[in-house]
Amino acid sequence: MSVFKTITRESIRPFAVLSGAVVTLGLVDRGSGNFLSVATAFSVLQLFSTLGLVSLALGLSLVVRGFDLSVAGMLSLAGCVAVLTGATHPWLGLAAGLALGLAAGTLQGLVMTGLRIPPLGVTLGGLLTFQGLSYVLTEGQTIAYPNYDLALILTEPIMGFLSYRSLITLGVFLIVALVMSHTRLGRDVVATGSDPEASRIAGVHTDRILIGVFALSGFLTALAGVLLSYSLAAASPVALSDVLVPAAAAAILGGVSLGGGKGKPLGIAAGVLTLCILRSGLNAIGASPFVHEFATGGVLLVVAILDAPELARRLTSWRLRASER
């Protein structure tokens, strides 16, 4: 029982689930080398680069009791802006995309703190607006990015399983993780999420923290969008919009709770890796796409039930009823 409790504790669970996924896939593969290969590791990390930063952004917003729906719109919008402005100077496109993400996130944070609107409402408006904006900018078309060399550089394998894109993503994760665990700022963010009222009394500028987290969320998502569009050498308003479900799933798997105050960047990274390993791993061993959907759904459902606040109470009352009989 105590082992079970340790494994299901939020801080350890993401890594337990991750190892579970690796071991299961490894067993199914039975050493035929389809799953445990450098090629699979590379494709897992490429997927990780697309999903990781979005999931980190969403996860951080969840830590402060928000739910940044707008990440789904920002991912494609930042990509479109970067491709449109960075045709000759990639750095200019990157800067434009990142500035937009930072500005849009800050604006959303200002609106929700200034007018006291629940984050979900503001970011829903943001999601629809960003999506609309990327449709207007691209006139509903997929636009090609002429700088193919850049795409090749970004996705070229380094030591077999890494690439510049995944290195940047991993680097950002490391920086955010260090800030969250080793600075006062990180502790203030967690405090704001777990008890806003008490944190305010204790002298934390909770409004500033909220604005900062949403600004960072916009920035991280924009970075993911720009990297994705540059490495695909294309941007489209449509193709990238179904990122919200896997991003949320990964954050939740990573130990973030919707109640706020819980969740660590490294846990989120483990959550994202689990999803990516499930997807590429199942692909590598030749399973049909629906198996992946089932696996994601099943894992999420189990986590949702384990996380449910009344599970313990219901179980106890069942046990009592059973023993009375």
Binding site: F67, V111, L115, R116, I117, P118, L120, G121, V122, L124, G125, G126, L127, L128, T129, F130, Q131, G132, L133, Y135, V136, E139, G140, L244, V245, A248, A249, I252, S257, L258, S288, P289, F290, V291, H292, E293, F294, T296, G297, G298, L300, L301, V303, A304, I305, D307, A308, P309, E310, L311, R314
Partner: protein
């Protein structure tokens, strides 16, 4: 706000002509039914479901597949599936207090997976023309619009005049107080989800009847359109406060704006952007209004 919109709409040449109004009414109806359903979830304090769009699609598939047994059984199968599948999510949310958003995401993934497994991503076509009664007009109104009207009336009656409706408001506005008052939380939440599933399945059946086929793409984006209508109508996102009539108003406002933009010759892309800005504006206005009152 409504006044400006009405004047703006009437001042637009072509708005009151019957074809565009009929087209508006029909397109409203599908989103409207889902939005009526979503209202129950939002009101009961569970924010939104990301699974209603997929439930709509799956109900349309099951309805189309069930047509080989006749229209009656197909209706029962389609409605029954949507209702029970969504009620099961409500049970998890209500009985265990599992997180509504995660449960809906998990249900979405499972549903998409099963549909993919069963249909292989194919579309299912209607076998004959037995569905004509569901797509025609009655008393000059598209049948779909009548269904929406009926759903809204039934929904509002449940909310305003039944004990269950009062319980939804209580659970949504203050869970602990509702429990202290002896309200069964899990029954109320499961009931809210059950109704949401029913109205969503209805939209799926109407939509597939209109197109003569069902597939998993039908409901894509309906979750966001529905929650946008609910919020623009003024139902509070944290639950407890709102109504089906308000949601209906929200649907009407969003759709009317889109038609006006279309008539003035704005592109489809511009409409997306305007919808987003309007949702954002209305949400901000509502919160300002709430603070003044």
């Amino acid at each position: 706000m409504l006044l400006i919109l009405t004047v703006g709409a009437l001042a637009t040449p072509g708005f009151i002509s019957t074809p565009s109004l009929a087209a508006l009414l029909t397109s409203i109806s599908f989103i409207g039914c889902v939005a009526v359903g979503m209202t129950f979830i939002t009101l009961s304090g569970n924010i939104m479901s990301l699974c209603l769009g997929a439930t709509l699609s799956a109900s349309s598939l099951i309805f189309m597949a069930g047509l080989s047994f006749g229209v009656g059984p197909a209706l029962a199968l389609g409605l029954g599936f949507g209702t029970l599948f969504t009620a099961a999510q409500g049970l998890l949310v209500g009985y265990l207090r599992a997180n509504p958003i995660i449960v809906s995401i998990a249900a979405l993934a499972l549903l998409v997976g099963s549909a993919d497994y069963l249909t292989g991503g194919q579309r299912i076509y209607s076998p004959g023309d037995s569905l004509v009664p569901l797509t025609g007009t009655l008393w000059g109104m598209p049948v779909e619009a009548l269904f929406l009207l009926a759903s809204a009336v039934i929904g509002q009656i449940i909310l305003s005049y039944t004990r269950f409706g009062r319980h939804i408001h209580m659970v949504g506005s203050n869970l602990k107080a509702a429990r202290a008052a002896g309200v069964s939380i899990w029954r109320t939440v499961t009931g809210s989800y059950l109704l949401a599933g029913f109205f969503t399945a209805l939209a799926g059946i109407l939509l597939s009847a209109r197109y003569g086929s069902g597939d998993m793409e039908l409901g894509v984006g309906y979750d966001y359109d529905a929650i946008a209508s609910v919020l623009v109508g003024g139902t509070a996102i944290h639950g407890g406060e709102g109504s089906v009539t308000r949601t209906l108003l929200g649907v009407a406002v969003i759709s009317a704006i889109q038609v006006v933009l279309l008539l003035y010759g704005f592109s489809q892309q511009m409409q997306y952007l305007m919808t987003g800005l309007i949702v954002l504006t209305v949400i901000m206005l509502h919160s300002l209004g709430e603070r003044h009152s």
